[in-house]
Each structure stands twice: as C-alpha cells, then as structure tokens.
Symmetry: C2
DNA sequence: GTCTATAGAACGATAGAC
DNA sequence: GTCTATCGTTCTATAGAC
C-alpha cells in the first residue's frame, strides 16, 4: 500500500473486474484478497488485472470511486441546506439511500481498516468531522452518539443475507424509520 | 489461517502480548498485522511471540477469548429468561456492557473478516442465529433489522476517539437509552 | 488485452543455541 | 523465555512475447 493517483481504467472488462473485486473485498477484506484470487475468479491471469490498474491501491480506489463520488455529492447537497434539522434530515435520507444502493462498497469503505488508511489523504475523510459539527450540535453528545451508531450500524442489516432478501424498498423504508426514531426526527422538512 | 485448538499460553508476558496484538488488530486489522509488527512493537523478536502461541490463528483466538467467553455467558443467561421482552432486555443490557467493557475485542470480533472465518467452526457462531429467533419474533422483520443495526453500530461510538472520551459510564447509559429507543423497550422487567 | 515467467519483498512458521 | 538464522510460500509488481 503506497500512493494512489486515482487513474481510471480504459477497458470494458473493468466492469467485470470491479464486480468480482468488490465481492471478494466485501467477503474476505481487502488485505485478505490477493490479486491472484481476483484473477482466478475472473478466469484470467494476474497480469491481466494489472493491465487495468497499476497497483492494488488504485484498484481499491477504482472499485470504491462510485460511492465516494456519491458521498461527496451528498455532502455538497447538505451544505446548501440551512438549519441543523434540515441538514440532519438530508443526511439521514442520503446515507440510507447510499447504503442501500451501494451496500457492498459502503461496507468495504467503512469497515475495512486497509481502506481507512487509503482514504486518510482523501478530502472526504477531513470533511467528515466538519460535517458532523455542521449537522449536529457539538454540545449534544447524545445525538452525536446516535449518528455514529446509525452510520456504523446501517451496514449490519444489509450484510445479513436473510434481511437483505426483504428487498431494497423495504430496507430503505425500515432504515429510514429506524434512523428517524434514533435521531428523534419527527417529519421531513419542506424540501428546498 | 488453518486450524485452532484454543491452547492457552503459559507465560506472564502474555498479557503484554495480548494488549499489543489487540491494539494493532483493532487499528490495522488482523490480516494487516504481521507477527513481525507485533514483535517490533513489543521490542522482542518474532520467535519470542511464537513461544506464546504456536500459530497466528491461536494468537487471535487467545486475544479474543475473554470476550467470547463473556458472550457465551450472556447467551446462557438469556436462555434462562422467559418471554421475548425479558430476553430482549437482557440481550440489550448484556451487549451494551460487553461492548463498553471489551470495545476493542468487540470491534475486531465483529468487524474483521478474518475473524469471521476463524469463528465459523466455533459454537458461538451457530448459536447466534438461534439466539436471534429466541429473542425477536421471526415474523417481525422490523425488530430484527433494528437489532442487527444496533449490534453492528454499537462499535461506532466506541471507536470514535472524541466520543469515547465521554467515559464508560456515560457511553453505557447513552447506548442503553438508544438501544431501548431503537427496539422500543419501555422499561426493565422485574429481574429473575 | 492477455499471456508466461520471474524478480524482490514480506509473510507464517521452525530449528537450535543460549 | 528470548535469540539468530533460515525454510518454504505467497504476495505485489514488472518484463516482454503474442
């Protein structure tokens, strides 16, 4: 694990690569997944994987790029909101939608220690603490704890195979309800 | 990663070993922590570590043994309770206490994919699904989702350095409150 | 875009001296 | 209980042919 410039791949087989790599990363962790294992799963050689990405770090960032971009877009959307309650509501629905739509990427990004080390230089990591202070009252540890609990816990039900069988619509609704209950948000504010 | 018989170490330096290994496991993951790194951190050689444990797998299980035993004791305690509500309440307070008292072990055990692979043979893993059906109504996905969310999320605030500064008593109380809110438990039932 | 072959480093684990 | 030295394997990554 060294540097990572975020260069994007050029081929079309990159979609299959992203899919296979993401599945293995989510299952065995980033450090527990060798490029050899990815290549074997794809039925190609290790060198073929290196054609798409120069290093393993860049592969990881490439796989996670969609959710990172979506997360940045969400943060930007929150900044346009005025008032903590409106921001908190936007954060809640945004996180739920992201977690449901990208639940494997989400789990790898939040849960894998190797990814944390990779993203320390990334702008997103610095913006996270700032976001927390933007959304909840710093002198209110209770809400901060609730938010932290929700953010870390949301991947739990999505990982459970029996629960994820309920489908994205049900999970979206249930997680939103649980989030509102946890953060004590009564209703959605008037949009924009 | 192969077999693991759970042999306990014989020395006194094992406490320091457990401490150092646990800290590195929590920080960089199990697969991201080499025995060389542990040895360096302790100021000894790699072979000195192998004196305490024959394999890395056994070291991991040795480090996690206290929380695994505490978890098994908690499960046994839940079985003695009658009625879902009483069991759910026992589970809530038990998990909160375990997570606060063993928060690093808890995070490693639940979050690290390598540990999951190690514990598949363990009796605890099989008992978990049974426990879920014992505590919540199988036809009530909402509570199951809430429980899964809480179990996965509880390590979030405990990992946050700014939140863990609040101290174990505050965290215990806050997490219990949030758990009751999430699971909609009104009050503690009469004990035993 | 994929292959074979391989370099170079790090890993888990062992042997044997002290 | 700790050391040095080493074995065999696996890993990331590269070179060069097709």
């Amino acid at each position: 694990m060294a540097s990572a410039t975020g260069q994007r791949p050029r081929g079309a087989g990159r979609l299959q690569l992203h899919g296979v790599a993401l599945r293995l990363f989510a299952q065995n962790g980033v450090e527990g997944t060798s490029l050899q294992a990815i290549a074997d799963e794809m039925g190609v050689s290790k060198a073929a994987v290196y054609y798409h990405y120069k290093t393993k770090d860049e592969l990881v960032l490439g796989v996670l790029a969609p959710v990172v971009e979506a997360l940045e877009a969400m943060v930007a959307r929150i900044r346009t909101r005025r008032g903590r309650q409106a921001r908190l509501d936007e954060l809640l629905t945004g996180v739920v939608n992201l977690a449901v739509d990208y639940h494997e990427q989400f789990a790898v990004m939040l849960g894998d220690p190797a990814v944390g080390a990779l993203l320390t230089t990334h702008a997103l990591t610095q913006g996270w603490d700032e976001l927390a202070h933007l959304v909840v009252d710093p002198s209110d540890p209770s809400t901060r704890i609730a938010l932290s609990l929700f953010g870390a816990g949301i991947v739990g039900p999505l990982r459970d195979p029996e629960l994820s069988k309920l489908g994205p619509e049900v999970l979206r609704e249930q997680l939103t309800t649980l989030g509102r209950r946890l953060l004590q948000i009564r209703r959605r504010p008037t949009p924009a």
